[in-house]
Amino acid sequence: MKCLLIASESAEMLFYWTDLEFQQNIQEQYGASQEEGHGFPAFEDSISTLFAPIIISFSTMLTEGDSYTSFTTENNHIYVLHQFDECLYIAVNGDGEEKEEDLRRKIYVMNKMIEVLFGMVTLSGNLLRKELRARDTEQRLRLWKHLQSLLETYSHLRENDQSFLVEAVERLIHPTLCEQCIEFLERRLVQQINSSAERGGEEVLHAFILVHTKLLAFYSSRNASTLSASDLLALIIMAQNMYPSNLDVDDPSPEDIDSTSGSGHESFYTPEPSPTDKDSSGSEKPVRGSTPVFEFVDPDIQMAEDSLSALEVCPPDPATPHRVFLEVSQKDGLYPMMPHSMYCFSLWPGITLVLLTKFPHSGVAMSVYTFLEAFAKLEKRLNEGQGGSTRGQPMHEVRSKLDKFLKTLALNGIQSSQLQNVWTEFKNRAFSRGGPGFSRDLIPWCKNMKTQLCGIYRQCFLSDSGPDDTPRRLSPGLQERAQTMVQEKLMDWKDFLLVKSKRNITMVSYLEDFPGLIHFICVDRSSGQMIAPSLSITERTTSELGKGPVAQYIKNKMWSLVSTTRHYLQKGYSTLTLRDGDFYFCYFLWFENETGFKLEAKDIPTMPDDSAPIGMLARDYYRKLLRYYSKNHPGEPVKCYELLTVHLGVIPTEIILQHCRQLASKLWEPSRNPLL
């Protein structure tokens, strides 16, 4: 029994997702059965009515300075609450499958996905509310359905995929093939696209190939900034959501492997929608979940009617890329939520090519972000009562920049009259001699400016077409050629890759050197990559763990161990050993410099229980940790590693610890290290 919802401060439902059980539970409680055919809106009403007292009480308590973080009941239902800006997220579990920490993580991941989809619009509560809760019901339902399906995809990955358990990217271990592919992406694919006339002003920055969730090859062009682990993980979720590779399904039988065409395995392949099919959810077909399927009217009609309506999340034309907002690091700092286009091609079921491009005008996003930051800082200063004319000094610089920016907008045909008006008013108040100057009275105008800036951003990057009304994308022909090129390249490898992705590394190769070792996970937190023996627990396949219940049991233990280690890490403990039942678990987190020299441990900050979950996907805890640790090692790149092991409990502790030591050095030996 699960539920996740987002509500505005006024208890307006901005988004919700429930599983069938929760829905039935609510419906039973609400008594009156829904009208036939209109179950959805009626259910929405009942769920918002039932949660309204909690949401309102949350706001009330918040104004008193302390608000709720979680509830539990006698039958072990868990409620977790967290507010991001003006949106309150509530996650509920009533079936014991998720703990408080899992729910909190789910909330943060949901927030991350919304940031990736809406960028800086999330910084304006008002605009975001309009995006999430479009006035047009069907448009809203379509968006919600997309978000619901993303959430389900994420939950599925978190429960089944080790790389989403520890939130680090897993690479496919095959150095030669990996190298070849990277070279191919660089020399052939990216070069060809970026020099093509059909690229519509876009430029490929990153290209990568996924086999299921594992990374086969990743190439970034020279002028691209690094793609953060957090963003990469979010993109993998989106790619999985578009082309779900059902990991629950057993290994393809030989016949399955023979059928190489894309129409092969129906259970994890969804055909591309035909061009006439305007039901955009076709390309986003969720394989799991119980959300009902709805009929939609042509969304374009609605778009024309309501200029402030929500964006087109699911492009009706499959050639239209997804807009994603990712972090970009420049020389002068980090810019979050910079617009990119994401092209996702299913090469074969389970194998996906992803291209990330930037497009013209993306410089506007950087300017908007700089201004937003400036106004936010000013607002904070004013709130703290540090007005004063001298404090307004940095604003003079902003003033000239913003004046210039407005001119640029006008030149590019971007609607900016409202921003212009607000800005003029702001200037009158702040800079004119007789005006109130930099006082608290300016705070609403700071807010107003921020909203207007977000509006510009929305207009540029979230609306259907660009300011100059040209479709911004690689031409469909170019897209098709790119897809075919990679397909040809990988044709001979594809079956191998699909098998390899489920047997990336196996425990067998470790058993001789490490008797008694059952499983391990190693993570390089500096690069955001992990390595672990495959945990295959389906009925048909037999892993080293055996199959069926035993393997499932060890998997569950592993999952709970990771959650335990995070809990202790949150409280400042970086080493942990546990004797639990017949098993002995170890966890180590440590730092090294680039040459592999182990660095001295330092006490890690402790955090409250309701702080952001430890991981890399939603909030990158390890980046903060590395920054904290590096303070003592200025100028020296510091690396952070984690090792988790499970041994049989009968093995003497001494030997277990020796294993851990050997394993740690073996895995990160440059010659053997598949990650470097």
Binding site: Q29, L50, F51, P53, I54, S57, T60, M61, E64, D66, S67, Y68, T69, S70, F71, T72, T73, E74, N75, H77, Y79, V92, G94, Y553, T564, Y568, K571, G572, Y573, S574, T575, L576, T577, L578, R579, D580, G581, D582, F588, L589, W590, F591, K598, L599, E600, A601, D603, I604, P608, D609, D610, L643, T653, E654, L657, Q658, C660, R661, L663, A664
Partner: protein
């Protein structure tokens, strides 16, 4: 020397907020929230703040419990966590700092409510009979009692304060136990305990019940025995007092039944709410076996007194050394018997009962006596147990241990108890008999909720000799039965005086400075805590130790299969280990930990288990 926990940081307070809110008083829209507030702590909190907290928390609590169709248990805020209890229209909330483990907060609230009900009976009724002010004073008193002298460690473990047994001649403890047994010869006496200066010397009651009794003791102690609400009996020179108390059905059954129940299942590792979960006794004496009027009135009963004398001890072994069961069951399939938390669900308890009685039968436990009523078994049994028992125990132990059961007429209550109990296989054994055997072990848990909630009035009798108090739970008419009272009074007076004189001369062990190590040892069965943590010296190692202990205790509570753990930060390492009967935490002080966080078997953190085993032996903690 090990110092008891209450010496530490006497003013540290666990509870930030506590309130009782009566929703039935605030039904209409116009009803102000303040009408529903029965009690609010801290009392100096401004009324609008009280209203805010009560209104919001009670509102959200109700909303959540409706959504989940189950009462709300905790409401957590960023700076406070509230344990919640909802019953009828009452809403209790106890707010603590977020650092206190949630299990501990919940336990604290349960204790507080139980305490109130123990002295006042059902809450609704008390509020009908008494003024809000009177009851407010009582809540305040119980709250302050539970918090008094509490240290941070006792926020984590709710433990009984006992006298430091390492300083006390064991013979004195035996003497105390004998006094209690002697009192129990009076049929109206259920059970008792002896307290000295607010600490337990010996008790026949469960830790939970002992804790409750101690509140009254400390109260009369601090009030220097001035007569108050409780009636002091003039004939006993003001040293005797009594008050009405209310026992829950399980508590009463526990007192009236054989003691050898599934104590090991009651280890508080199960975070469930069980008032009656801690059932085993501190001082387990033979008199713990049930007594009925008939037995005492027929001291020369035909049953040989020794018959039962061995068996409770056998069962005691079961109870106190459950380790083998545990380790055998620890892995994939935790044995239902040893690890399943006590269930309040009827079916399960019946099944458990069946298993229990079956296993007892096969191991030759006490149940043989009443299992079949088969003469030959009976005789053989008595022969077995009797032979050498007579000489060894006959003189020392009183006759109440005699299980005279079957042929004797019974006290009505006992019969009643039994009939309510005989729902499982147990009753099957006796089906063929005209007279149901009264000495069956009652089910651990009565499934029937109303029965569990029922509160039976009893009387708490107290006899004070300076710092020493004999507290007895007695049948209500004991106080009007002059003969019984005199008998109990006079039979124990001399012994109490002697005991008091001895105990007075014992100097409490001086708290040592920060030693080379810190440890805490919690006995889950007896609810006692032993530690060398010197809160007064404010050792630099204390804080990390308490923090780690709190984390590990929560972890142990939530993970049944977890046996031991080492957690290590750059500066500290703590080892924790537990069995079903105990939890032990150990930290090496001084010197920096060798090696950084990398996997290294030479890391000094990994030598903690062996160090703990050696060091703690001298504290009487055996981790082998």
């Amino acid at each position: 020397a090990s110092v008891m926990a209450e010496l530490l940081q006497p003013d540290s307070r666990m509870c930030n907020y506590f309130f009782l809110y009566d929703g039935s008083k605030v039904r209409g829209e116009a009803d102000p929230t303040r009408d529903g507030i029965c009690y609010f702590y801290p009392e100096e909190t401004p009324l609008d703040k009280q209203e805010l907290l009560c209104g919001q928390l009670a509102g959200v609590g109700r909303c959540v419990s409706e959504l989940s169709s189950s009462p709300t248990r905790t409401l957590r805020l960023r700076r406070n966590k509230f344990a919640i209890r909802m019953k009828d229209d009452f809403f209790w909330a106890l707010g603590c700092s977020v650092d206190v483990p949630t299990v501990s907060v919940s336990e604290f609230l349960d204790q507080l409510i139980d305490l109130f009900c123990f002295y006042n009976g059902p809450v609704r009724r008390s509020y009908q009979l008494n003024s809000q002010e009177t009851l407010a004073a009582r809540w305040a008193r119980y709250l302050s009692h539970l918090q008094s002298g509490s240290s941070e460690l006792s926020h984590i473990f709710s433990c009984l304060r006992t006298i430091d047994s390492t300083n006390v001649d064991p013979l004195l403890l035996l003497k105390a136990a004998l006094i209690l047994q002697a009192c129990q010869r009076c049929p109206l006496v259920l059970a008792g305990c002896i307290l000295f200066r607010g600490r337990v010397v010996s008790t026949q009651m469960s830790p939970g019940l002992t804790m409750k009794v101690m509140v009254h003791e400390s109260e009369t102690y601090t009030k220097a025995q001035r007569p108050n609400g409780t009636s002091a009996s003039s004939s006993f020179s003001g040293t005797v007092s009594s008050t009405t108390v209310f026992l829950t059905t399980p508590e009463l059954q526990d007192l009236q039944s054989a003691p050898v129940d599934k104590g090991f299942r009651c280890c508080p590792t199960t975070p469930q709410r069980d008032g009656p979960s801690k059932k085993t006794r501190l001082s387990r004496t033979l008199s713990d076996t049930p007594s009925t009027e008939s037995q005492v009135s027929n001291p020369s009963s035909s049953q040989p007194p020794q018959k039962a004398s061995l068996s409770p001890r056998l069962s005691d072994l079961d109870v106190f050394s459950p380790a083998p069961t545990h380790s055998a069951a620890n892995s994939l399939n935790p044995s239902p018997q040893s690890l399943r938390p006590s269930l309040s669900n009827g079916e399960h308890s019946v099944e458990d009962e069946m298993e229990e009685s079956r296993s007892r039968k096969s191991t030759g436990g006490r149940s043989q006596i009443h299992s079949e009523g088969d003469g030959s078994v009976f005789e053989e049994d008595s022969h077995l147990n009797g032979g050498e028992g007579e000489g060894a125990f006959g003189g020392v132990f009183d006759f109440q241990a005699v299980e005279s059961g079957n042929e004797q007429p019974h006290d009505d209550k006992v019969v009643e108890e039994d009939s309510s109990v005989s729902c499982g296989s147990v009753s099957g054994h006796s089906a063929g008999k005209s007279d149901p055997p009264p000495l069956l072990p009652p089910p651990h848990r009565l499934s029937d909720a109303s029965e569990e909630n029922a509160l039976i009035p009893m009387t708490l009798y107290m006899h004070r000799v300076k710092g020493l108090v004999l507290a007895l739970l007695v049948e209500p008419h004991f106080m009007s039965d002059a003969t019984s009272m005199e008998e109990v009074y006079h039979s124990s007076l001399a012994s109490l005086n002697g005991l008091e004189a001895h105990l007075r001369t014992i100097s409490p062990g001086a708290p040592g400075g920060p030693g080379p190590y810190t440890f805490a040892h919690f006995d889950c069965v007896q609810s006692t805590l032993t530690t060398n943590l010197s809160g007064r010296s404010g050792g630099a190692w204390d804080q990390p130790f308490v923090r780690a202990t709190s984390l590990l205790h929560s972890h142990f509570c939530n993970t049944e299969t977890l046996q031991e753990a080492i957690i290590r930060s750059a500066s500290t390492a703590v080892y924790g280990t537990r069995s079903v009967a105990q939890e032990t935490y150990f930290q090496q002080n001084g010197g920096s930990l060798r090696n950084s966080g990398i996997p290294n078997h030479q890391d000094s953190a990994f030598s903690l288990p062996s160090k703990a085993r050696h060091r703690l032996l001298k504290h009487g903690v055996n981790l082998l």
